[in-house]
C-alpha cells in the first residue's frame, strides 16, 4: 500500500504563529514524497482542532501523520486519542516540538522557521518507520503494601482495607504505633498518644483485610503499578507478597546529638530530648537526676537546624507543649523557651502559644546558644552576652530521615532529596506520589511533619490508590516496551541488573534474556546496557532514532 502522509501545523494561538513563518514551513514540506496534505490550525488541541484533525485523517485516507506543535509531554496523548478516533493506530504519528524548541527560544523569525522545518522533516523521516503497536490489558492487583506502622501507615491501611482489597502492613519493631505512642499528650485534644494508637489497633484487629507483619522488613521489590512483587522477611522466614501499590511511611528519627558541634556540653545530666521528656512525663515524674523537682527549665528549639539546613516545622509546637506539661505538673516553675524563629503556621497554634506565654513562660529569641555545666546547668546565648542558669534542659532536635531510607530508596528506586528524605514527584502538585508509578510516600518519610499532616497524606495516598486501582478494572500497560533479539543476545545478563522493574528474566536453556511484557515499562535502561544492540525498544528503535537524527544533522 502506498503511504499517505499528512503534516499538521499548529499555530498554538499566537505562540507559534507569531514566531514562525508557517506559510514558509508549509511550502517547504508540501513536496516531500508521499505527503498528501499540509494543513494548519489555530489550536489543534481545542475541540474544533481535534475534530479538524480527525476529519482530515479520514478524508485523506492518511496512513501516518506528523503534528508540529508543542511538547509531546503536553499533548501526545491528546493526539493519540484523535488518531484512534479516526480509526488509525495511535502510534503511527510523530510530534515535532516547534513551540518549546523553536518558537519560544529563538528571537529571529527566519532562524526559528528554519529550525522548525528541520524538526518537522526529522519527524516526517521518523514517522515513516513507525509501526502499529497493539494495546494490551492486564488485571491490576488491588492489594497494597504499607511499609511502616506509625500513625501514617496505620491510617493509610485503615482507609484502604476493604472486602476486595487487602493491606499488608509491615513494621520493623515489635509493635505498631511508631513515635506517637511515646507522646503523653498530643496537641490539640491533649489525648494520650498510646490511647490514640490503641483505638486504631482495635480497628485493625477487627479488620480481616489488614495483615500485619511485625519485626519485619522489605528485602526486595520488583514490578510496577498494579503488579509489584515484594519479598518480606519476618524473623528468619521470607515470603513473597504481590500487591498493586506500595506506600512508604517509615517516619523519622531525631538528629544524633553526638553529631552536633557548637552547642557546648550536650551530654550532661538533666538534658533531655523531646522524646525523652515525653517519656518522663508519661511516667508521671518530672525530676532531675538527683530526684529533686526542677525549679527552672530551659527549652531550646532548633537544635541542629543549621546542620541539617531546614526547619523541621513541628518542634516549636511540641516545645510549647512541653511548657504546658510543666505548668500543669509543676506550677510555679520558671520556664525559658529559647528560639530562633517561631514557626506556628496553623490556625490553632497561635492561640495556644499566646495562652502559654500569658501564663508566664519566658520566650527568648536567641542566637548562638551554648550549654555550659559550671556549678549547675547554664544556657549562654547571644555570643555569651547573656546567661540563664536552669535545673533542666529540654532540647528540640531536628527531624532527620529514618535509618532505612537509603536502602529502601535503592530497592524501590525512588529518589531522595539532599537531606535524605524521599522526594515527592512534585512539591505542590503531586506531594504524595513518587517518580515511580504506584509507589507513594507519606508522613515524615517525605519530610518533617505534624501528626495532622501525616494523616492527611495517608488519606491522600489512599485516595490516589482507591481511584486508580479499582478491583476488577484492567490497566493498560505500556506498549512501547523493549524486546530482545535472540540471535544477538549473548547471555551476559547485564540487562537483568539494570532493569528497574524486574521485567527481564533469563532463559537458562537458550542462554538468553527475555522481557516480561507486562512488567516492562519501556524506560530503555536495558538498551543502554546492551553492547550488541540485541535489545530494542518499540517505537524507539535504532532505525527510527537514526533517521530522525540524520535528518536533524543534515
Amino acid at each position: 500500500m502506498k503511504e499517505r502522509i499528512g503534516i499538521f501545523l499548529c499555530e498554538c494561538g499566537p505562540n507559534i504563529a507569531e514566531k514562525i513563518d508557517l506559510d514558509k514551513v508549509k511550502e517547504a514540506l508540501e513536496h516531500l514524497p508521499n505527503v498528501v496534505i499540509v494543513a494548519r490550525h489555530k489550536l489543534f488541541c481545542s475541540l474544533q482542532g481535534k475534530e479538524f484533525l480527525k476529519e482530515s485523517i479520514k478524508e485523506n485516507n492518511l496512513t501516518r501523520f506528523v503534528i508540529a506543535a508543542c511538547s509531546p509531554k503536553q499533548h501526545e496523548l491528546t493526539f493519540m486519542i484523535v488518531a484512534e478516533d479516526a480509526g488509525m493506530n495511535p502510534h503511527l504519528f510523530q510530534m515535532a516540538n516547534i513551540r518549546e524548541q523553536c518558537a519560544w527560544i529563538i528571537e529571529d523569525k527566519d532562524e526559528a522557521t528554519k529550525k522548525a522545518i528541520l524538526y518537522i522533516k526529522a519527524a516526517y523521516k521518523r514517522v515513516i518507520y513507525h509501526e502499529s503497536l497493539d494495546k494490551k490489558e492486564i488485571v491490576a492487583n488491588p492489594d497494597v503494601l504499607v511499609i511502616g506502622g506509625g500513625i501514617a501507615g496505620i491510617e493509610a491501611s485503615l482507609a484502604l482495607a476493604g472486602p476486595d482489597r487487602k493491606v499488608y502492613l509491615i513494621e520493623k519493631t515489635e509493635s505498631l504505633g511508631g513515635k506517637i505512642k511515646e507522646f503523653d499528650e498530643v496537641f490539640i485534644s491533649f489525648k494520650n498518644g498510646q490511647s490514640i494508637i490503641d483505638e486504631r489497633l482495635e480497628r485493625i484487629e477487627k479488620e480481616d483485610n489488614i495483615e500485619t507483619r511485625l519485626q519485619a522488613e522489605v528485602i526486595d521489590v520488583k514490578g510496577f503499578l498494579g503488579n509489584f512483587i515484594v519479598i518480606v522477611k519476618t524473623g528468619d522466614s521470607e515470603e513473597k507478597i504481590q500487591v498493586g501499590a506500595i506506600i512508604v511511611a517509615i517516619g523519622f528519627e531525631l538528629i544524633n546529638l553526638s553529631q552536633l558541634k557548637g552547642y557546648g556540653s550536650l551530654d550532661c545530666d538533666d538534658i533531655y530530648t523531646g522524646l525523652e521528656f515525653e517519656k518522663m512525663k508519661k511516667e508521671g515524674k518530672i525530676t532531675t537526676k538527683s530526684g529533686s523537682v526542677p525549679k527552672s527549665v530551659g527549652i531550646i528549639h532548633c537544635i541542629g537546624r543549621n546542620e541539617v539546613g531546614y526547619c523541621s516545622g513541628v518542634c516549636c509546637l511540641s516545645s510549647i507543649k512541653f511548657s504546658k506539661y510543666i505548668q500543669d505538673k509543676l506550677p510555679g516553675t520558671n520556664i525559658f523557651e529559647f528560639y530562633r524563629d517561631l514557626t506556628l503556621p496553623d490556625k490553632a497554634y497561635q492561640k495556644f502559644y499566646e495562652n502559654i506565654e500569658n501564663k508566664g513562660v519566658n520566650f527568648i529569641q536567641a542566637d548562638d546558644i551554648k550549654i555550659a555545666n559550671e556549678k549547675g546547668l547554664k544556657i549562654k546565648y547571644n555570643k555569651n552576652k547573656s546567661t540563664q542558669p536552669v535545673d533542666m534542659i529540654i532540647l528540640s532536635p531536628a527531624y532527620v530521615p529514618a535509618k532505612d531510607s537509603n536502602s529502601l530508596a535503592e530497592m524501590l528506586r525512588i529518589p531522595r532529596d539532599d537531606s535524605g528524605f524521599f522526594t515527592e514527584e512534585h512539591p505542590k502538585l503531586a506531594p504524595v506520589n513518587t517518580s515511580a508509578e504506584g509507589i507513594f510516600i507519606i508522613g515524615c518519610a517525605q519530610g518533617p511533619k505534624s501528626i495532622k499532616d501525616s494523616i492527611s497524606q495517608a488519606h491522600a495516598a489512599a485516595g490516589k490508590i482507591l481511584a486508580s486501582i479499582i478491583p476488577g478494572k484492567k490497566l493498560e500497560p505500556e506498549v512501547r516496551i523493549s524486546y530482545i533479539n535472540e540471535a544477538f543476545c549473548i547471555g551476559c545478563q547485564k540487562c537483568l541488573n539494570t532493569c528497574n522493574y524486574g521485567a527481564i528474566y533469563f532463559d537458562n536453556l537458550k542462554f538468553i534474556s527475555i522481557v516480561n511484557e507486562v512488567l516492562c515499562h519501556g524506560c530503555g535502561n536495558c538498551i543502554a546496557s546492551c553492547n550488541s544492540s540485541a535489545i530494542q525498544l518499540k517505537h524507539f528503535k535504532d532505525i527510527q532514532m537514526h533517521q530522525e537524527i540524520i535528518e536533524i544533522l543534515r
Binding site: F488, K494, N497, F511, R554
Partner: protein
C-alpha cells in the same frame, strides 16, 4: 604476606611450577590443567586442557608471548556443570579478564582454580617471530632480571605484576618469584579457595616479607613509566581532531576487537547492519561535508571504547595485534583508567565487585544532576 616456599632447581620457575601442579594432581587438589604449550613448530604457544602428566611436563606455564589472551580461551567453558578441579595458570591481566568475563556470565568459574604468577611482561609477538629461539633465551633472562628493555610497550606500563597488600587482581593462588631466595619460588593464597588448597596440601606457611621491597620497587618503576609515557600520549588523544589523527592509520581490520578478551558480543554493533545506511544518506553526507570517508574508523574505536573501557584490563593484546602499529592498547588503557576511577572500580580486582553499570547507587554523580 605469607606463603609456601618451593624449590626451583637452577631458577627454572616453569619446572618448579609444573612439579607443584603435579604434586597437586597426586594429592587430588587438581584433576586437570589448562596451560600454555609450545606448538610443534616451536614458534608459538597455544592453550591446552589436559589430564596427562607427560603433557603437563612438556608445557610452558610462563610463556614468552601472549598469543590468545587466556580469558578468550576460557570463554569456551561457559556452559555445562563441571565436576572437575581444573587448575588454570595465567598472567595477572588474563586473570583480570577472566574475572570480568565471569561477571558477564561468559566464563563459569565454579570448578576452575585460577593460578596467577609474577609477570615481568611478554615479548612483542612480531619481535619474537623474527627468531623464536632467541626469543626464548631473551625471555628466560627477563624472568630472572625483570629488565623491561625487550618487553611490550603496554607491559612496561603495567603495575599489576604481582600480589601485594593492596589488592589489584583476583586469582585463587599466586606464584611469586620477586624477592624470593635463589632457586626458590613461593605460592601465596589469593582467595578463600586458595587458602583451602594450601591447607589441604599441608605445606608450611612462611612469612614472605622479603618480597615487599622488590614488589614495591617494580610497581613504582612501572607507574613512573606510565606517567612519563602518558605525558606524550595524552595530547594525541584530546579533542576530536587529535583523536582522528591518532586512528587515521586504522585499516578497519578490527583485529583489535577480535583479540580483545572483553569484547564478547555475538554480533558486534559495529559490524551489524545498523551502521550501514542507505545510498541517499551517504550521498547526503558527501554533499553536505564535501566528502564522505568510508569505514569510519573513529566511530568504531570510540564506540568500542564506550562499550568495554570499564572492563579494560590493559592486557595490550589489541596493540600487539595491530598491523598498523597504532598505540591502541595505550589509548584504551588511558581512557579505561579514567572511566574506572569515576566508578571506583578496578576490573578483575575481585570476584564480588559488581559491574558498575549494573548497580544503582543513589549517591553517585550528583554533580551531573540538574
Amino acid at each position: 604476606m605469607d606463603g609456601v616456599i618451593l624449590k626451583a632447581q637452577n631458577n627454572d620457575f616453569n619446572k618448579g611450577i609444573k612439579s607443584f601442579l603435579l604434586s597437586g594432581l597426586k594429592n587430588g587438589v587438581f584433576d586437570s590443567f589448562i596451560l600454555s604449550m609450545q606448538v610443534p613448530a616451536k614458534d608459538s604457544y597455544a592453550w591446552i586442557l589436559t589430564y596427562d602428566e607427560g603433557l603437563v611436563k612438556s608445557s610452558t606455564p610462563i610463556s614468552p608471548i601472549m598469543t590468545v589472551q587466556g580469558a578468550r580461551a576460557l570463554k569456551s567453558l561457559r556452559t555445562g556443570t563441571p565436576t572437575q578441579k581444573i587448575a588454570v595458570v595465567m598472567r595477572p591481566c588474563e586473570m583480570r579478564a577472566v574475572i570480568e568475563l565471569s561477571k558477564l556470565n561468559q566464563i563459569n568459574l565454579n570448578d576452575l582454580i585460577l593460578i596467577s604468577y609474577d609477570c615481568p611482561g611478554t615479548l612483542p609477538i612480531k619481535n619474537y617471530l623474527e627468531d623464536p629461539e632467541k626469543g626464548e633465551e631473551v625471555f628466560n633472562k627477563i624472568l630472572l632480571d625483570w629488565d623491561d628493555k625487550n618487553i611490550r610497550e603496554t607491559c612496561k606500563l603495567c603495575d599489576k605484576v604481582s600480589v601485594q597488600e593492596e589488592k589489584t587482581f583476583q586469582s585463587d593462588l599466586h606464584i611469586t618469584t620477586l624477592g624470593i631466595e635463589q632457586n626458590n619460588f613461593a605460592i601465596i593464597s589469593n582467595s578463600e579457595k586458595g587458602i583451602e588448597i594450601l591447607n589441604e596440601l599441608k605445606l608450611e606457611i612462611k612469612n614472605l616479607s622479603s618480597r615487599d621491597e622488590p614488589v614495591k620497587k617494580i610497581i613504582e618503576t612501572r607507574r613512573k613509566n606510565r606517567e612519563n609515557s602518558r605525558k606524550e600520549l595524552i595530547p594525541q588523544l584530546i579533542g576530536l581532531d587529535a583523536l582522528s589523527e591518532f586512528f587515521s592509520k586504522c585499516i578497519n581490520c578490527k583485529v583489535c576487537r577480535s583479540v580483545c578478551p572483553i569484547c564478547y558480543c555475538r554480533q558486534c554493533y559495529f559490524s551489524s547492519e545498523k551502521v550501514k545506511y542507505s545510498m541517499e544518506d551517504y550521498l547526503l553526507q558527501a554533499s553536505t561535508r564535501g566528502n564522505m570517508k568510508f569505514l569510519p574508523s573513529l566511530l568504531f574505536q570510540v564506540g568500542r571504547m564506550t562499550h568495554m573501557s570499564l572492563s579494560c584490563v590493559n592486557c595490550g593484546a589489541c596493540e600487539d595485534a595491530c598491523p598498523m602499529d597504532i598505540k591502541v592498547g595505550q589509548a584504551f588503557s588511558y581512557v579505561g583508567d579514567n572511566v574506572q576511577k569515576l566508578f571506583d572500580y578496578l576490573p578483575g580486582r575481585s570476584f564480588e565487585e559488581p559491574l558498575p553499570l549494573s548497580v544503582y547507587r543513589e549517591e553517585e554523580f550528583k554533580e551531573i544532576e540538574n
